[in-house]
């Protein structure tokens, strides 16, 4: 019952393929910075947190900048509802994540790595600290790593304190600096002005966990999986109405139909792709493919069967955003409250369609006017659920609303 998620042996083509701890660091030090950047660029690796920014570009920008200090930050503030892949990576594959940080640190010329772990994951803190200690003993961390003169790198773990918005990279940096986790204006981007004003790379846990595999096995091997624009594989956190929930490593380009088959979901009505800030896809569109170019996701897949009421699902998401909006910018702070109000009114049957339409307009305003990804994406479920399930929600004999 408690921490019982360590036993399963996982299968997968890229991240879950066999890997020997420390081997990528050794190889990285042999081939040198330029070749690492070349391999990562060739692999067309994109950030796995959801935004999909090319990892190599981010690294190159920081590697090329001149500064006394540079920082390598791993974003383990996995807060998106329905996402738990980082939990699996950190508890079962810490070597991949930390080796990825060391390789990244070497490439960009950083000496300090920080793992920002969300407060909810405090239960894994001790084991992670032990793992770092064992890496120090093997000289995978510390001074002159593996005998490489002048390459010093160490990793510190910092805990978050329960704020979803801190998963946004500039909010994360603010939090690390001891401030409220409120996103900054961008530009300047963290690659120029990051932690304490120094050039900083912030990478998702899964992004970093892919790096050791790319370095040891090569960009071509990595590219052989996935699609043209979305190379490699992705960890999907599957939850909801299916027989086998859990983390699955599947190549990009897998269709929702295939996914439903794999996880043993029957009688499915809809799938929420990308967590609360993602979109809700009805069964009629299950031929859509999971990839950056089609149904993009940071990994969260929530499955709803025919018995679920989509309005209730939407209400849960909107309550989440009202709670987690940092309150800094008005479109997000007020907008989410207005959208939740709308959902409650629909629930009561106390709405007009012109009111709903004005809320849809508000959603569009939020998408363009909000300061960070939270407010820009929080209207997604509102728009997609009302659009795709309007028959259920607005029909008087439907079971979405309580009226009739």
């Amino acid at each position: 019952m408690e921490n019982n998620f360590k036993k399963t042996k996982r299968e997968g083509v890229v991240i879950f393929s066999p890997y020997e701890s420390g081997s990528s660091i050794k190889k990285a030090l042999e081939i040198g910075r330029e070749n690492i950047l070349f391999e990562v660029r060739e692999s067309k690796m994109k950030g796995r947190g959801g935004a999909g920014f090319p990892t190599a570009t981010k690294w190159m920008l920081v590697a090329a900048s001149r500064a006394d200090k540079k920082y390598m930050i791993c974003n383990a503030d996995e807060g998106e509802p329905g996402t738990f892949k980082d939990r699996v990576l950190l508890t079962e594959y810490p070597a991949l994540v930390f080796d990825g940080m060391v390789v990244g640190g070497y490439t960009i010329g950083s000496e300090i790595g920080i793992l920002y772990l969300r407060g909810e994951y405090i239960f894994m803190l001790e084991e992670l600290e032990d793992f770092l200690q064992s890496m120090r003993k093997q000289n995978l961390l510390g001074k002159n790593i593996l005998g490489k003169e002048g390459f010093n790198f160490d990793i510190a773990i910092r805990l978050g304190s329960g704020a979803y918005v801190c998963g946004e990279e500039t909010a994360l940096i603010e939090s690390l600096e001891g401030h409220r986790g409120e996103p900054r204006n961008r530009p300047p981007y963290p690659v120029n002005t990051g932690y304490m004003g120094y050039p900083t790379v912030v990478n998702n846990v899964e992004t970093l966990a892919s790096i050791p595999q790319i370095i040891t096995k090569g960009a071509d091997w990595f590219k052989a999986h996935g699609t043209d624009k979305s190379t490699g594989s992705k960890l999907f956190s599957v939850s909801g109405d299916c027989e086998k929930p859990g983390v699955y490593e599947l190549p990009w380009g897998t269709s929702l139909n295939e996914l439903v088959e794999i996880v043993g979901a029957t009688n499915t009505k809809a799938i929420q792709v990308g967590g609360a800030s993602g979109i809700c896809i009805p069964k009629s569109q299950f031929d859509r493919k999971l990839s950056y170019e089609d149904a993009s996701t940071g990994g969260s897949i929530m499955i709803f069967n025919q018995s679920r009421k989509m309005l209730k699902v939407l209400k849960n998401f909107m309550e989440f955003f009202v709670e987690e909006s940092c309150g800094q910018c008005t479109p997000c702070r007020i907008g989410n409250i207005k959208l939740l109000e709308g959902v409650v009114k629909i629930e009561k049957g106390d709405y007009t369609f012109s009111y709903i339409n004005s809320l849809k307009d508000l959603s569009k305003t939020m998408q363009v006017a909000s300061k960070c990804g939270l407010g820009q994406s929080s209207p997604n479920p509102f728009i997609s659920i009302l659009e795709n399930f309007k028959d259920e929600i607005f029909s008087s004999n439907g079971n979405g609303a309580n009226h009739a």
Binding site: F84, D86, E120, S161, A163, H179, D241
Partner: protein
């Protein structure tokens, strides 16, 4: 707060500053430790941290009020955080919720009179494949049913 309590708290915060450094970066770790030891961060503690870090007290207040895991008012010795995200909801969160409320005789966001328990909701705990899930202090419990949830309370000292 009694004078000797204030003095010991000041001393404690001084030691924390020695350990983490007199730097704004140290603010969050310091607050996290105070929260852990005292189950909240009192106004006096906020002022002391501000004084010793050379920042305005409102800066400390603004940080304390921002984060869900930091509290400005006394909480119970043990904090139960039940995940309220839709995945846990579909897995039967409501039953757990009822059982916890019944057992402790309080609602969510309340603390028992003996200051032993606080009930809170939390956003996704990242245990969606094993819901319903709750966090009791630093420990995570998954695949709960009402009976095991109550047993966990009884086993936690």
């Amino acid at each position: 707060m009694l004078v000797y309590e204030k003095n010991s708290l000041s001393e404690e915060i001084e030691l924390l500053i020695e350990r983490f450094g007199k730097d704004r970066v140290a603010l969050l770790p310091i607050l996290q430790i105070i929260e852990k030891r005292h189950n909240y961060i009192s106004e006096f503690a906020q002022q002391e941290v501000a004084r010793l870090l050379d920042i305005h007290p409102v800066e400390v207040y603004s940080v304390v009020s921002f984060y869900n895991f930091l509290h400005r008012y006394p909480q119970g010795k043990n904090i139960v955080r039940l995940c309220k995200t839709i995945s846990c909801d579909m897995a039967g969160k409501q039953e757990i919720e009822k059982a916890l409320k019944r057992e402790l005789g309080i609602n969510f966001d309340e603390t028992t009179r003996d200051k032993k328990w606080t009930l809170e909701y939390t956003s996704c705990l990242g245990m969606c494949d094993q819901g319903p899930a709750m966090l009791v202090n630093d420990k995570i419990y998954t695949k709960l049913d009402p009976e095991t949830a109550v047993k966990i309370l009884n086993d936690t000292k």
